[in-house]
């Protein structure tokens, strides 16, 4: 629908280039430092714990915060450049902003909320655009309601529709699903992704939910304490965090320090407590390395004999310290001489009759062990 708006511009730089920071009285500094490449549609996720500055970074892009340093360029237009005292107000940045609280105008109907920013159109065009948005977002028949009379999911869609109404060049979504209950979140994640792809508007999305980031994002910008720690393709960042802080923020369950014992043929053996682990050599190992293991990559078996029928290279005797159900999954905390977490299905847990205190075998493929040098 909106493809004509973001036809690839002639210049070849990134679509969005942000390298700006905002210093707050009291010392906190928040930066927005990442790029969105062209061409084509992508969702960039700003990810990090609460208080890491994600929302402020988004507000810098929106022009709701003024950058003290650096610049922001979108599609060949300078939106902000502290050095040249340029700060375009939000009104002229041509963006769609979905705030976390939705901020629908409570005194206006759904239709009036959707057409609020369409003063440039005449009455007929406005009505047509509102009808189009109501249909697109499955809000048919709700045009005359007021926001207070809508469910959370409907409010979310009205807020999204209002942000889309002017066919913006950039869409900014601040925790778009966090105000909803869990089942709605899961359902709307899929719908939102499909909608964004269909609309083909470059999107920056803030979330602290790892699953949401994985499901909605193409690119990931990891933030911590106001800084951008790492950015890149989502798989790349999740599979290869550059440092332990990023790994911890991404929710890689186990991050432990190990001693490198030997490296040969691309494989490294590390001592972690009493245990020995075999992992892929990242190429620059020194004496010490962080071992990052995701819970999904740890299997649990009864008995710990040599695994002749398995390609898994790591078989660690371990004791179950706690079992913690999480939806259809169970998070198992293990003591393998070091704390190790495993994420298994509830069914598997029941079948093996796993209970706390059991002696089991933790099984890890060497390829699933990510080593981050730490010397």
């Amino acid at each position: 629908m909106d493809a004509h708006l973001i036809a690839a511009a002639p210049d070849s730089g990134p679509y969005l280039q942000a390298a700006a920071e905002r210093r707050f009285p009291g010392g906190a500094t928040i930066e927005a430092r990442f790029e969105v490449p062209r061409p084509g549609f992508s969702v960039t996720v700003l990810f990090g714990p609460s208080g890491s500055g994600k929302t402020t970074a988004l507000r810098l892009l929106a022009g709701l915060e003024r950058a003290d340093r650096g610049s922001i360029q979108v599609d060949g237009t300078v939106w902000s450049d502290a050095g040249r005292h340029i700060h375009l107000p939000p009104q002229v940045r041509d963006l769609g902003f979905l705030p976390q609280a939705y901020s629908l105008f409570p005194h206006l109907s759904v239709a009036a909320n959707l057409s609020y920013g369409l003063a440039a159109l005449d009455a007929r065009q406005r009505a047509a655009r509102v009808a189009e948005l109501l249909a697109l977002l499955d809000l048919g028949g709700l045009g005359d309601r007021h926001p207070g009379e809508l469910s959370g999911g409907q409010q979310q869609r009205v807020a999204l529709g209002r942000a889309l109404a002017r066919k913006p060049r950039l869409l900014l979504l601040d925790e778009p699903l966090s105000a909803l209950d869990r089942p709605s979140q899961l359902r709307l994640r899929k719908e939102l992704r499909e909608l964004l792809r269909a609309l083909d508007i470059p999107t920056i999305l803030v979330t602290h939910d790892r699953a949401e980031a994985l499901q909605l994002g193409d690119r990931l910008v990891v933030m911590d304490q106001g800084r951008v720690c790492q950015s890149g393709g989502i798989q790349q960042v999740f599979d290869r965090p550059t440092d332990p802080a990023v790994a911890r923020i991404l929710g890689v369950e186990t991050v432990v320090l190990g001693q490198v014992e030997s490296v040969s043929e691309g494989m490294a053996t590390l001592a972690v407590g009493p245990a020995r682990l075999l992992g892929a050599d990242p190429g620059n190992l020194g004496r010490l390395a962080f071992v990052c293991i995701r819970g999904e990559d740890v299997a649990v078996e009864r008995g710990c004999g040599p695994g002749f029928g398995s390609t898994a290279r790591n078989r660690l005797p371990a004791r179950i310290t706690t079992l913690h159900p999480e939806g259809s999954l169970v998070r198992i905390a293990l003591d393998a001489g070091f704390p190790l977490e495993s994420l298994v299905t509830r069914q598997a847990c029941t079948d093996l009759r796993l209970t706390e205190g059991d002696q089991v075998c933790a099984i890890l493929k060497a390829a699933a062990i990510h080593l981050i040098p730490h010397d």
């Binding site: 939000p90 009104q91 940045r93 609280a101 409570p106 005194h107 609020y116 920013g117 007021h146």
Partner: protein
Amino acid sequence: MAPLMDWQAIRLSLWLASLTTLVLLILGLPLAYWLAFSRRRWKFLVEAVVAMPLVLPPTVLGFYLLLAMGPRSPLGRAWEGLFGSTLPFSFEGLLIASVLYSLPFMIQPLAAAFASVDRGLIEASWCLGVSRPGTFLRVIAPLSWAGILTGLVLSFAHTLGEFGVVLMVGGNLPGRTRTVSIAIYDQVQAMDYGPAGRTAALLLGVSFLVLAFTYALRRRQRKPWTLI
């Protein structure tokens, strides 16, 4: 025979209160907006000045106004040069005094209402391309209806009931500066209790009804815009 009431004074008071409220609304909207949203460090000084009439004795305010409007002050001279008449003991002088005297009764409800509008709504409006004045008219003002109503009613009622400032600045000229409160005072001084009592009862009744109506409206669960 004593008249039923001093109708001339009642008409004058109503006219003065209406004009004062109108002038205060026009001055108050931008000033209250500034007070609600400015981040100037010296804003507290302006806030203090606006609130002064709440604590100053009316005679003190009236005394300084009299000096400020007198023929030897710049304001008094400029007025005389422009209009050929003096400000003190005139209806225009009384209007200026009333505006200043009732200033906090308009500004404070307005500023409080503007400041309580969710910041997110204002920012959402900006991000939809709507200017700051446009945002004020389309978001802040409609959502501040209760505060605006309170400011209007309080300014009107307060002007209707003022006495000390009128006495200092306006005097007691029938048809020009003789307001209801002065008329009642005069009648009581003259032991004319009949008309004084009737005028006082009228003032009491009107004030109560207006305030009761205002608070009733503010209490409504349904906001006015949902009735449209």
